[in-house]
């Protein structure tokens, strides 16, 4: 049996996938196949759950039946406990996919006299393995034997024999062990199980607990060496290997709308890049959530799913508040395009938040994510922790081409704002700054694009107005009076309008004056022309009279000469 197995593993170590989200990525494919793995940790860290899930996934997803040998918990308890993770152990037992054997070790029931061995356990394990053809075995926690039996020498020898026997059987086994003082396990199980050791940890810092997992060693295989946060949720175990993403992700050239046309115009005319990370900072009440809601609204309009993590408001409150500015998100939540996940930042530690978000994103598969606000999360951890968490979150989102919008509450002082956010802003591709502009006894909102990688963005501060009909972005008044917003801008605009009107009136009167002048001039011209025409007629009449006179004179002259009997003919006066 062993020989058959070992023939197949010639080059790389064969692995048995656990089916546990994230763990297979950290271990580069799963646990060493046909070998025991030690899972150790302190009480309540989730060792048993890891074991149970390993068996359940094996039975349901990889068709590898498994044996659970429990030394501490009664089978009924194991079954009840794992039901809360959605595992139906009863059903698996009935289908012969799982065999549960409870080994009771009670010191006061047992008297030791002389030599013995643990053949009883061997027989039971063997029977269990053979009866369902098991490929996986979990021993939880075999260390209980050390409390039940006094002869440590026999125990150690027998455990060594047990683990090598398990290898011979070719089953992939998980052996759990309680963490000891300065050692991995209380009774030094790591001496016997040395192929793969996984350590679970449940730490409480500032009254907030975080579960972490680390692969301490994995002989003959590469593995992630970091501590990874993990969750035990409604669907079982999930580990988050997100720090391993790095910068290898593809980038998209696709642009998506921010939901506000004017803001898109400020962002090179087309909006955000798909898969980019957007940070909106601003002091209280500058409209960060409103901007975020417009963004998810736009995503929903495109028919894309979006996930809204709210750390300040409840989903109903967000929906109600957005309705007050004329944005109705309810149809999208009803359609299932938009989901809210509201929780208090102090509910879990930072790592756990990350883990939860990771899991929910994996489940819902949104194309847009809003985290509103990250500044509340920052309060739950140190700056370096927050930075590393955000980095991992951003990397993860980018690898999935999910556009992420983060809001962050900042102090009102804009200088310190830009300074304090440096750590976070370097991770972000686009940074929108919402600011207060106080002028003339009122406060108005301004928006500008502080940075936006890969696009020609506007450098202008715009006035950001929230009305009952939605968000409006307007040009601020920039003139000899300086930058004006709000009612001062309105006053200035009114003043300008008045001036314009006045000027228009003036122009009108000037035009009318001109008209009048023109009319007068034309009347004058007409009079002159009439006078001239009259004169012309008069002159013509005089000329005709003169001509008539000349002709009469000629006639008279001819008649005169004729009467005088002149010898000389008279030439006509006109010379013709």
């Amino acid at each position: 049996m062993v020989q058959k197995k070992s023939v197949t593993k010639n080059r790389s170590l064969p692995k048995s996938p656990t089916g546990i989200a994230g763990l297979d990525e950290i271990t580069d494919g799963g646990l060493p196949k046909g070998r025991p793995t030690l899972v150790c940790g302190s009480a309540g860290c989730g060792k048993s759950m890891l074991g149970v899930e390993f068996l359940v996934r094996g039975a349901t997803e990889y068709n590898e039946p498994g044996v659970l040998m429990t030394f501490e918990e009664l089978p009924e308890d194991v079954i009840t406990n794992s039901r809360s993770l959605g595992f139906d152990l009863d059903g698996l037992v009935a289908k012969k996919k799982l065999f549960v054997d409870y080994v009771r070790v009670e010191r006061n029931e047992i008297q030791e006299t002389g030599e013995y061995d643990l053949a009883g356990i061997f027989v039971r394990l063997n029977y269990a393995i053979e009866s369902i053809g098991a490929k996986r075995v979990v021993l939880d926690t075999i260390e209980t034997l050390f409390t039940g039996l006094t002869n440590a020498a026999i125990l150690r020898a027998e455990l060594r024999r047990l683990f090598s026997w398990l290898k011979e059987k070719g089953v992939t086994a998980i052996i759990t062990g309680e963490k000891g003082d300065g050692t991995l396990t209380r009774n030094g199980l790591e001496e016997y199980v040395s192929d793969c050791v996984i350590m679970l940890d449940h730490r409480v810092v500032d009254q907030v607990s975080t579960r972490r997992l680390r692969v301490v060693k994995y002989r003959g295989s590469t593995h992630g060496t970091n501590e990874y946060p993990f969750l035990i949720g409604e669907t079982g175990f999930s580990v988050l290997p997100i720090s391993s993403v790095g910068l290898g992700h593809d980038v998209s050239r696709e642009r998506i709308s921010s939901g506000i046309p004017r803001l898109d115009a400020m962002l090179g005319g087309k909006g955000f890049y798909r898969g980019s990370s957007v940070l909106i900072t601003g002091s209280a009440g500058t409209g960060k959530s409103s901007l975020a809601s417009y963004f998810v609204d736009a995503a929903s309009r495109r028919g894309e799913r979006s996930l809204y993590f709210a750390f300040e408001e409840s989903p109903q409150q967000i929906v109600r508040n957005m309705q007050s500015i004329g944005l109705d998100l309810e149809p999208w939540t009803d359609k299932g395009l938009l989901q809210f996940r509201a929780s208090r930042p102090t509910l879990y530690g930072l790592e756990t938040h990350l883990a939860v978000m990771h899991k929910q994103i994996e489940e819902f598969k949104p194309r847009a994510v809003v985290i509103d606000p990250i500044s509340n999360l920052i309060n739950t951890g140190s700056v370096t922790e927050v930075r590393s968490m955000l980095l991992r979150l951003v990397d993860f989102l980018k690898s999935r081409k999910i556009t992420a919008l983060f809001t962050s509450l900042s102090s009102r002082d804009t200088d310190s704002l830009e300074k304090t956010e440096i750590g976070i802003s370097s991770i972000m591709d686009t940074w929108l700054l919402l600011r207060d502009i106080e002028l003339g006894g009122e406060r108005n909102r301004g928006i500008n694009v502080l940075k936006s990688r890969g696009m020609a963005h506007s450098n202008q501060i715009r006035e950001f107005i929230i009305t009952a009909n939605g968000i409006d972005i307007r040009d601020v008044y920039v003139g000899p009076e300086g930058v004006l917003t709000g009612s001062m801008r309105l006053a200035q605009e009114a003043r300008e309008r008045a001036e314009k009107l006045e000027r228009q009136v003036e122009i009108g009167s000037k035009q009318r004056q001109l008209e009048r002048k023109r009319a007068a001039l034309e009347a004058q011209i007409a009079a002159l022309r009439a006078e001239f025409e009259a004169e012309e007629v008069e002159v013509g009449r005089v000329l005709a009279q003169e001509n008539q006179l000349v002709k009469q004179l000629e006639i008279d002259e001819v008649a005169m000469s004729r009467s005088r009997q002149a010898d000389k003919s008279v030439a006509p006066r006109n010379g013709n």
Binding site: E106, Q111, E112, T113, Y116, A119, G120, I121, R124, L149
Partner: protein, 115 residues
């Protein structure tokens, strides 16, 4: 499972039980094949019973190699294991029973042994 009672109290209880059940001993020896330890255990047990429980005991030898499912049913961990099924309560003694005094304590027969 019974809370851990004081030894004296349990002893007096089991004495009473023994009287009720006529002092009959129902013993089971779990072995795995013909291993030397198993054979030694059986020999030791037989001898002890003949000395201390002559005529009021029954020994049943169970080979787990042949009936492995019984290991689970009777909560057997070690081999050899001697189980005193009667008189109540059930007592378990593991090992090859080479130490007679310990075995007698295990079977709660120490008083008689001293007598």
């Amino acid at each position: 499972m019974k809370p851990k009672t004081k030894r004296v109290a349990r002893k007096s209880y089991s004495k009473a039980a023994r009287q009720e059940q006529g002092g009959h001993y129902d013993l089971r020896l779990y072995v795995a094949g013909q291993s030397p330890k198993s054979l030694a255990a059986f020999a030791n047990l037989k001898e002890l019973c003949e000395v201390h429980l002559a005529g009021k005991y029954r020994i049943e030898v169970i080979d787990l190699v042949k009936k492995p499912q019984l290991a689970r049913d009777d909560q057997i961990i070690a081999i050899p294991t001697l189980v005193r099924r009667l008189p109540q309560p059930i007592r378990k003694i593991i090992g090859d029973l080479c130490d007679r005094r310990q075995t007698l304590i295990g079977l709660e027969l120490s008083e008689k042994a001293e007598n």
